[in-house]
């Protein structure tokens, strides 16, 4: 089996490639999953200005430092254009599409005011501080910080973890129908599973945060 692609070429499950299991999935599922590997179309929701900050923001949130990167902004853009929301928004937030626009505007204006530069041009340590303040502060502009954080992470994680490259990184076997699982239990592996080759945290968010605090 050829080595499976992972975000940033990072992985701890050896040569594991979930796409090698595609023939064990039913046709409907296979179609849906393999379509995620098709090069994404141009953005339709985010403006060029928003895109510049948003790309950097999403890379930071997901620890996507190097190619290949899961096309996260493209999937979020598609969902916002097609109004494929989660079915709710918090009373203190606008609906999701408007909330994305407004939160990116607050990010842009805040960085220009406090640092005299666009978010995507800032030093990565400052970017970390700015983003972490959203997570920990009551307010982000006129929006509640925790619900902005919730919005960003909810869309970012959904887009990231639907992609087979992310499954390769975490050793996830993908769809289980009709194949199923037979070796249930701690430490028991399926024939296709690979053992975890590196128990270290692959995305040292907290380490990076600590480093930027010490700066």
């Amino acid at each position: 089996m050829a080595r499976g692609a992972t975000p940033g070429g990072r992985g701890r499950f050896g040569e594991f490639d979930v796409l090698g299991l595609a023939d064990t999935w039913d046709d409907a599922t296979k179609g849906v999953v393999l379509h995620r590997l098709v090069p994404p179309p141009h953005l339709r929701f985010f403006t060029t200005t928003e895109e510049a900050d948003c790309r950097v923001l999403l890379d930071l949130l997901l620890g996507q430092d190097e190619e290949p990167k899961v096309p996260v902004i493209e999937e979020i853009d598609r969902r916002l254009v097609e109004a494929e929301g989660d079915g709710w928004h918090h009373a203190e937030m606008p609906p999701d599409a408007a909330a994305w626009r407004r939160s990116l505007r607050i990010l842009r204006e805040g960085c220009e005011r406090d640092h005299g530069a666009a978010f995507h041009d800032l030093d990565v340590d400052i970017q970390m501080d700015v983003v972490d303040a959203v997570r920990t502060s009551d307010r982000f502009g006129d929006l509640p910080g925790r619900w902005v954080w919730n919005l960003w992470m909810r869309y970012a994680l959904a887009a990231f973890y639907q992609h087979p490259w992310a499954w390769n990184e975490i050793g996830f076997g993908g769809p289980a129908y009709p194949r199923g699982y037979k070796n249930l239990g701690v430490g028991q592996l399926e024939p296709w599973e690979r053992p975890d080759g590196d128990p270290r945290n692959p995305i040292p968010w907290s380490e990076r945060l600590e480093r930027s605090k010490r700066r």
């Binding site: 999935w25 039913d26 409907a28 599922t29 849906v32 999953v33 494929e84 929301g85 989660d86 079915g87 709710w88 928004h89 918090h90 009373a91 203190e92 609906p95 959904a158 639907q162 993908g174 769809p175 289980a176 129908y177």
Partner: protein
């Protein structure tokens, strides 16, 4: 009561449990049942109109139709064909959720949509209301003592008799959750 007698009693009360194909025969989704479903014209007079074909509306419609009522059940979503419409993938299953915009509030609100509502015939039951795993009989054999296990098995059997589903299939497992 013997198992045969017990089954006969269930069949009499709930024949629709036997409409679905047995899992062992390898039969696929019974399209004919959907195609042969009774339909009414706009001018037809009916006895009842049920709005929403989920866990409540679906069962109500089935019960009344079986009792001879002329029933129309309105449902905003499709009558899913699991062979083509459902996939074994979380993000690929978003179309099963009722995602019309709703507002939540408060400190620790329950998000709506994927967790607790569904779209199409079956309502939120098409994804087990988003949080119900399929239990297997063995799940009840490892941690329960023999007496509790017997009592639980009895309850499961009783609840299973009123739930349609493949024989010995998901019905009993769903019911087990209701008592567990």
């Amino acid at each position: 009561m013997s198992r045969v007698g017990w089954l006969r009693g269930v069949k009499k009360r709930n024949a629709s449990a036997w409409l679905l194909p047995r899992q062992t025969t390898g039969e696929v989704f019974p399209v004919g049942l959907v195609e042969r479903m009774r339909r009414y014209d706009d001018e037809d007079e009916v006895d009842i109109v049920v709005v929403g074909c989920g866990a409540g509306g679906g069962v109500l419609s089935q019960r009344l139709a079986r009792a001879g009522w002329r029933v129309v059940c309105l449902e905003a979503g499709p009558f899913w064909d699991p062979r083509h419409d459902w996939v074994s993938d979380e993000a690929g299953s978003r179309h099963l959720y009722w995602t019309e915009p709703r507002v939540i509030s408060g400190e620790d609100p329950v998000p709506l949509g994927a967790n607790n509502s569904g779209r199409g015939v079956g309502g939120s039951m098409v994804h087990f209301a988003g949080y119900v795993p399929r239990f297997h009989p063995s799940d009840f054999c490892t941690v329960l003592g023999r007496r509790r296990r017997r009592r639980l098995a009895h309850l499961v059997r009783r609840v299973a008799t009123v739930l349609p589903g493949p024989r010995g299939g998901t019905a009993g497992r769903g019911a087990a959750l209701a008592v567990g």
